[in-house]
Subunit: 223 residues, 2 copies
């Protein structure tokens, strides 16, 4: 794997915790590279806002509760718009991928009755696939580009989130409503459903921000 994706994944999966300094030499050894390509990967992550400059070098960005709120507001704006546009612009191929992704999501949720880390990751992954299919159906590459950057931050938290059966069932239901709306070309219904859906996710994350499982990811206002 290249340096960029290695570091990004490590941040998302919590291997590199918020606030942690990213030492170039260490990363270079871990990846059997020199410092040069490491520095370039870091510059990209900096441009995306996942890492922040320190006095010298960079550290993993520390997202506050306020950040999470703002990001979910932004994400709901972008993705609900995407859902609306998908209902207008989706092709038949899009519909097939949407259907497939949703069936997979359904299957993964019901096949993994015990909620261990691997299950959670599978659920998060198939959920992402459905959302990505929607954004892709909207037929706006720039929208896609920006959503993919916005979505990363919630990922950092969701990877450690313990969903309840009820939440997953509810999420699945809404997915089906969104799918139907896109299939039947009802942009307004798709948009509203997606908006509700993401705000539901936002509420879940915010309610559990103090949970033991993710508390290590969340350090309020470290200076």
């Amino acid at each position: 794997m290249d340096a960029y994706n290695y570091i990004k994944e490590a941040i998302i999966h919590g291997k590199f915790e918020p606030g942690m300094r990213l030492a170039e030499e260490t990363l270079a050894k871990e990846l059997n590279l020199s410092r040069t390509p490491i520095r370039e990967a870091i510059k990209q992550l900096e441009a995306e806002g996942l890492v922040v400059p320190l006095k010298r070098g960079v550290g993993v960005r520390n997202f506050t509760k306020e950040d999470i709120k703002e990001i979910y507001d932004l994400r709901s704006l972008l993705e609900s718009y995407a859902a609306g546009q998908a209902a207008i612009n989706r092709t038949e191929e899009d519909l097939i991928e949407l259907q497939t992704a949703n069936e997979l999501y359904d299957k993964v949720i019901h096949d993994n009755s015990l909620r261990d880390l691997t299950s959670i990751q599978a659920i998060v992954h198939t959920n992402s696939r459905f959302h990505e299919a929607i954004v892709s159906s909207a037929k706006n590459k720039h929208l896609y580009f920006h959503i993919s950057k916005v979505v990363v931050v919630p990922m950092v938290f969701r990877s450690f989130y313990w969903y309840t059966d009820f939440q997953l069932q509810q999420s699945l239901e809404v997915h089906k409503i969104i799918f139907e709306a896109i299939k039947n070309k009802e942009p307004e219904r798709a948009r509203i459903a997606m908006h509700e859906h993401i705000f539901q996710g936002r509420d879940n994350v915010l309610k559990h921000l103090d949970d033991i499982k993710i508390s290590h990811l969340f350090k309020e206002e470290a200076k």
Copy 2:
């Protein structure tokens, strides 16, 4: 100036034309630096989508008509939301900056009756200040971050756009409506006015995409 801003400005002002290869050695000499910091600046611009990778190295991104349409759709979504949020969250200080920016915009338009390049740049600059003040008043740092990236692309084109007196007058009127809506805390009015305003700008740019003045910036589907 640092390498990042130097290259960015050069792209916006058309010194580096779309499709043009960015040779590291050349840039390094221009800025009296070694290749290392140049490469890092380029990586950042790549993450923002202003330059694209070639088989080897990078080139200035070539935006198509389709890109412009998509970007204006995205921008109108984001900025109209920002205007709405500004009408809710603006402080008294925000209001002062908003007022100042708008008065300056008015002044610059009327003081520069002959529309030479310097005047256009002054107009674009004061217009940006007003828009930035709105986004800032929305009190969402992540929204601000993404808008600032989205806005850059239209900048590439607007720097070379010859506005008519009518268009400027109209633009000024809408600015005043938006300002009033934000002042009076009318989010819906602010949102709609901003949406119209940006779609007006979009139409202006699209209508004139084939003009001689900007044709060198616009090369359809170069592969």
